[in-house]
């Protein structure tokens, strides 16, 4: 009975298949994957959205403008200004961009675009069975989060050097220790400076990938068990888990922004 229901949305019982990239189209020799399309979509949404709210005619925002302005003001007042103080306006552009980019990508990953396309076209556009995909979570891709972490790394180091000058920066890199310990402290601090952005990348990547893999596994249980009871429980469980995933989407964007702010502040004004 269950096999006669054509569920094009759950074509594979491998939970990781929903998380990794799939090609969408191939132009010439260049493969365009669903993560690339999601990144482009997030960029377009952000540009369009923020130009829209920047052009408001009244001082008091309403609706979606109110929500976005609430997030913007919260990030600037409660996350960036306590740490950076007078340098807030220099870095707030990058930090706002990072926060909303990660948030948009995470939330776009929660929208089942392939499933909606399948349902709306009545089974006409079945990307799943062709092993192609249009939507997905681009932050569940280590290369994407790695790229964001590399940009943060350069922001941290360049601004630390620019603020203090090269000599004082190298001198203040380590806390004050007796001379025999200095080489070891330099090695430790250099490893620390490389590990911190790596941790940023892995934290975001693993949270997003694990969340979607767990949901894929829960839905895969339905296929494996072939029973309606398991199906009901699984769908309810997935719905509740999705609420947790929405919270994690906001939290991970906030953590990435907050930690980048802390590292930039520590590089510019070390309190050793």
């Amino acid at each position: 009975m269950i096999h006669s229901l054509k569920i094009g949305i759950v074509a594979s019982s491998d939970p990781l298949a929903h998380v990794v990239q799939h090609e969408f189209i191939t132009i010439g020799g260049f493969v365009i994957t669903n993560h690339m399309i999601m990144i482009l979509l997030a960029a377009v949404l952000m540009i369009a959205g923020f130009i829209y709210i920047a052009r408001q005619k009244t001082m008091v925002p309403t609706g979606i403008k109110n929500f976005l302005e609430m997030l913007l003001v919260y990030i600037r007042t409660d996350v960036v200004r306590p740490v950076l103080g007078k340098d807030t306006d220099r870095f707030i552009k990058y930090l706002w961009t990072v926060f909303f980019f990660i948030l948009t990508l995470n939330l776009l990953g929660m929208v089942p675009i392939d499933g909606i396309l399948y349902l709306v076209t009545g089974g006409g556009v079945d990307l799943e069975s062709q092993h192609r995909a249009f939507g997905g979570t681009a932050t569940a891709n280590i290369w994407m989060t790695g790229a964001l972490a590399i940009i943060s790394f350069f922001m941290i180091q360049f601004n630390g050097i620019r603020e203090q000058g090269m000599g004082p920066y190298v001198k203040n890199f380590i806390p004050h220790v007796p001379l025999p310990l200095v080489p070891m402290m330099y090695i430790l601090e250099i490893v620390g400076a490389l590990v911190k952005p790596f941790a940023l990348a892995i934290r975001l990547f693993a949270n997003m990938m694990a969340g979607h893999a767990v949901m894929g596994a829960m839905i895969g249980l339905i296929m494996v068990s072939n029973s309606y009871a398991v199906g009901g429980v699984s769908v309810v469980g997935c719905a509740l888990f999705s609420i947790l995933e929405l919270f994690v989407a906001f939290l991970q964007a906030y953590i990435f922004t907050f930690l980048t702010t802390l590292f930039i502040g520590a590089a510019m004004h070390p309190d050793h």
């Binding site: 990781l16 941790a199 892995i202 934290r203 990547f205 693993a206 949270n207 990938m209 694990a210 893999a213 939290l251 991970q252 953590i255 907050f258």
Partner: protein, 78 residues
Amino acid sequence: MMDPIILAEAAEALNVNAIGAGLAVMGGAFGIGKIGASAVEAIARQPEANGQISTAMIISAALIEGATMFGLVICMIA
């Protein structure tokens, strides 16, 4: 006497990746449990500091969860 070949086959059959993932999650859950306990106790002592304590709790939990995820990723890809 445990034959090394039998040991290797047992390790393969046991799917040691999953055991590693379970241990990583156990460590992370223990740490986050301690954070939750001390945060709730601190709020009980001083309810006015509710906002600051909750913010610090969420940030610490996310950082520890990051470390847990390192272990999970290693278990998943190997």
